[in-house]
Symmetry: C2
Subunit: 220 residues, 2 copies
Amino acid sequence: MADMSSGSAPGEQADLGSAATLGKRADVGSGPAPRKRADARRNEKTLLEAAAAAFVASGVDVPVRDIAARAGVGVGTIYRHFPTRADLVAAVYRHQVEACAAAGPELLASADSPYTALTRWIDLFVDFLVTKHGLAEALQSDDAAFQTLHAYFLDRLVPVCADLLAAATRAGQVRTDIEALELLRGVGNLCIGAGKDSQYDARRMVTLLLTGLQHRPSTP
Amino acid sequence: MADMSSGSAPGEQADLGSAATLGKRADVGSGPAPRKRADARRNEKTLLEAAAAAFVASGVDVPVRDIAARAGVGVGTIYRHFPTRADLVAAVYRHQVEACAAAGPELLASADSPYTALTRWIDLFVDFLVTKHGLAEALQSDDAAFQTLHAYFLDRLVPVCADLLAAATRAGQVRTDIEALELLRGVGNLCIGAGKDSQYDARRMVTLLLTGLQHRPSTP
DNA sequence: GACGATACGGAACCGTGTTCCGATTAGCAA
DNA sequence: TTGCTAATCGGAACACGGTTCCGTATCGTC
């Protein structure tokens, strides 16, 4: 299974998550993609690496200027490749989000019960969030610029969570009044500020939430 | 019992929560307070009312300039009375925080079990947070300016929560590995973004958390 | 009414994200 | 190799938010 908590590992050959691929696919059928210039491709890769390093060093709140400086480019270059901060963040973490999404079905197939698969998957999700300083905060930020990041996470992970939840529901292991979106948002919220207070253990809170999710006829 | 979700009801005679009373008490023993000028007192009251109205209208994120305009004063006046945004927020909600703190012992005395008292108290807390747009977010913000707000809430409410939790623990009704601070932060986190998505019901998530908190020997 | 202390207003400052546009350069053709 | 042109780059400039500063206005007292 993919390791969700490892470094962000940018720098692959294929689609590095340029903003154009985040929204609706642009003008399908207008012929093959016009292939970017070499310096543009180089810069995009450099930017993703610099951003990943900056996020590790200073959290996802690191100023755009710092990322630009780290990459040795101007801020204009960042905004040409990524229309907004959130798109850059999304691009940097795209691989890990995809890995998390892919892990859902695998866990469902390998775990000894749907509920176990669900908890393991949520564990992956939590590991991902708590190891990325400020990511959970950014996801819930009401800043309009982060709407696209929020949407990307939800688009990709809600269906996976919904499948796990549905399986657990069919097995009679969980309450039936909780939706996947709600569960994911709750878990995401619990991860906020995870690294900033040693007294607060997000994983323990998520455990509580998941325990409470279990189907228990004897509700007090 | 105090109604935590009602309007903020500023405008009382006594201490309206000026910043001086939030931090450590300044120079105790240097004689009686020198009694502010009349216009200063008038402005402080006006400011609290304007801020409360602005918070209701636009959330606690409303720009300081907007509050100043609403109160018909300059921004300098705000900063003279409240050293920072967070102090203004704290002052506006001080009454409700105090009411929430006071409700703890009352509930413990009146409810039929400590766990019930705890859940009722948490309900009050949640009602408070979800009815104040952006307050839960501000509480967890890593912005240094909100540290004082965070600290105020915690100073005031953690002891109350700890008492309720201890009582429930003595009654064998809850797990023993959760601290009051952790529980409060978890609940606070779950309230983030409560009003912005009709799909997400913070109260339901808190219910899950509290259910998971219950002592259950048969852990799956 | 005068005068010192206090409080006021809002321009100015700093740090953000984002936009804009002249300078630069890659990629191609001759 | 040399031009040419469109794509790309860099960073100054803008918008917007919190906060600070200081000349001016007002209060309260003599």
